[in-house]
Symmetry: C4
Subunit: 239 residues, 4 copies
């Protein structure tokens, strides 16, 4: 029988309502987000932030979705020019119920990586590799060479805990410049993984921009009067 | 063969359209919600309420979702400061088709508890324990000691009825001050559980605040002109 | 191997774009909806209609969702006072590709019946019984006796076609006054049932009113300043 | 163990952020969409476009959803007069990481075909046949004879790669006038298919128009005062 208890230190149900004194860093997570965001983008004044976080013995894992971006086309419409993602943030424990957010490690899941995670069977595992030289750029130059190339490489693996009881989520970050390797590992219960799977399945069409395409109902209605036939937009028979 | 009949006393398909005379308490459910809400929050004037209720022989179970709350950040954006939840309300039968709403017992499911419930296999069971001393507070002090501590403890268990035919949902409330133990139990058919599973899966990203993050499309579009590159917000490569 | 072909008379992919000449009745489906609606409700001027219809040899089956209704409370908020439903409309074939819409039979699925249908296993069947004397009323008197009582009884059964290839959907309408029994049966392919299951799963939280509760984000944000503590609305610890 | 790597040429995670130099055609995909759209519909000024694309060795496959269209009824409401669809666009590779978008082949999935695809078991396959003479028309004449009849026939097949590792998606286009047969085939990993299944399941209620029916909450609320009973709209008991 599965048992969940609010007496256990699993604090996943509390957004980020942790006391500041729990953090060894001087910034709370919210303040960090708020500050870095404020510097970069004046449009943030109306942005909303929400994460799902699981706090475990050696590290914590927080996930939050990131919207895709669209750019205007000459026709007046707009097209997605960068996929959204789901950001995983790991931060190590530095004492009982204390986590050091300044030592966080980030991993951004692409739509296909989200697809891999949500279709994972109970006994299956998966692994993703990221290299900053392959990062997509705001200038639409996906194959540009970043100054970080070769310096930092990241991998994320998700492996079953056994007996259909959840997964280990592990991040490894190799920094060739600093000659360091960071590893953080967070065990995820079956219930917590169900939350992630459901939240990621919900997020997927949104980070792909499909919700914006499909819920855009502002277009005036066609009149029901017969009209001169002309080549159909959106038809598979016109090229 | 599964048979559902509208002649049976299972009244789950009727929102709360029960005649007042069915209630032994002097308040209908709606009036109770409306009254208590009106006293506490002036913003309720535009709030909406909808529940799914199953009425059974010894007790009834009603579930409804509760929105998360966000607070303004200095940057002008906002962050979730309290998760939403799914509230289970149990109330005992006091006669044929009569239920005493004044003797109701409440149990609020956190996102992780919702995850546990929606991933429950046909032969699996789960159990959750709640203690008021662990309740999250509007002042962001999750570990504060409540004056109720130790007085009241609640547990919720969901156990299979057998032969893939549904579940028993049981609540036990121990009140040490009043030296009482209340138990209410409601059998849920497979069809009713399918409604709950679907509704809870729908509700989960909303009580986590993710729908508000992901459907917030008001941000102005990026221009398609090349621009000076600057550190990317939302990138896994910037810290 | 499953094969679907647009050459077959399965016209499910064409909303209601059937030529009027296909109908033996004098009204097209759209006109029928539009006319009956126009007489009853002045608010319909902005209503939208969309159905999913499968046309088969002996009969056609069309399904469309119906919104729940809310009523104002004294507090200014509103509560759901009648569940929505998913309406099934059957109409018999009266020739090749001709259907008589005036002989239609209706069956409205409640949320729990929708739950039963979407959780149906490949080899399972289900059956629902409706009696007009049990219909919910706009006056919130669910147990009132209708003048139709005993006159008309309806049942809907869904039974597997075998080999995981779909279902038969059958409606039987007994009219004691007219001493008639009408039966209509429509075979549904696995692909068509997948459309129905997905559409019904999408519709379910909407006909329960939960989407309106959960996507109502107009409430002003809480200020982040500490404030005097008061009993929490929505808490399981307050009664 | 499943492994996904960003070093591989699988570029599915990058919307359409491919350098123009990768394309042998003179138009990028976005420009093609923007131009053809601009000529046909003045309402496009607010339209949004987003696709999911997988680039493989011999060809690429891009999918994007297309909204249904509604027309005004005399009552003032509106009804769906053409289903939406999900468009598959195939284009062949003409070198390493070079694709010729001018040689694209289109295939528009109807709601039922989407239902077939999202219910496909790991070892199952499906096949769809399209003939332009059967295309739905903006004039609501589904059985009209197109001037293209018999000239072009298309088929799409989806077959398992084996060992639960994904599918082959194949398009064949027979052009009797030009005496040509074009075939394009794209292998889809299990993770990529999970993205498609999730995105198509999300899109399905939208291309059926159900989201517009179900999220249309503008109707004034019913007053809670008792009123004269009249025949219920949306009741299965009124005809």
């Amino acid at each position: 029988m599965l048992r969940l208890s609010r007496f256990l230190p699993s604090a996943s149900r509390r957004g980020f309502d942790l006391k500041e004194s729990l953090w060894s860093g001087s910034l709370t997570f919210q303040q960090a987000v708020s500050t870095s965001a404020g510097n970069l983008d004046e449009n943030l004044s109306s942005k909303k932030f929400a994460s799902y976080t699981v706090f475990k013995g050696k590290a914590a894992l927080s996930i939050h979705p990131i919207l895709p971006s669209f750019s205007k086309m000459e026709s007046g419409g707009s097209r997605m020019n960068r996929n959204g993602s789901v950001m995983l943030t790991f931060f190590p424990a530095v004492g009982q119920r204390k986590y050091d957010y300044t030592k966080k490690q980030l991993f951004a899941l692409s739509p296909t990586e989200v697809g891999s995670l949500i279709s994972l069977g109970p006994a299956e595992s998966c692994e993703f590799f990221h290299d900053p030289s392959m990062k997509s750029s705001p200038l639409n130059q996906p194959f540009c060479v970043s100054s970080h190339e070769g310096q930092v490489k990241k991998s994320l693996s998700i492996t079953p805990l056994g007996s259909d009881s959840g997964y280990f989520v592990n991040i490894t970050v190799l920094n060739n410049l600093q000659k360091t390797t960071d590893r953080l590992s967070v065990p995820i219960t079956k219930a917590e993984f169900a939350v992630m799977r459901t939240a990621l399945s919900f997020a997927l069409p949104h980070i792909m921009g499909w919700d914006q395409v499909l819920t855009h109902h502002a277009a005036p209605l066609a009149s029901s009067k017969p009209r001169v036939e002309r080549p159909r937009l959106d038809s598979e028979w016109e090229r």
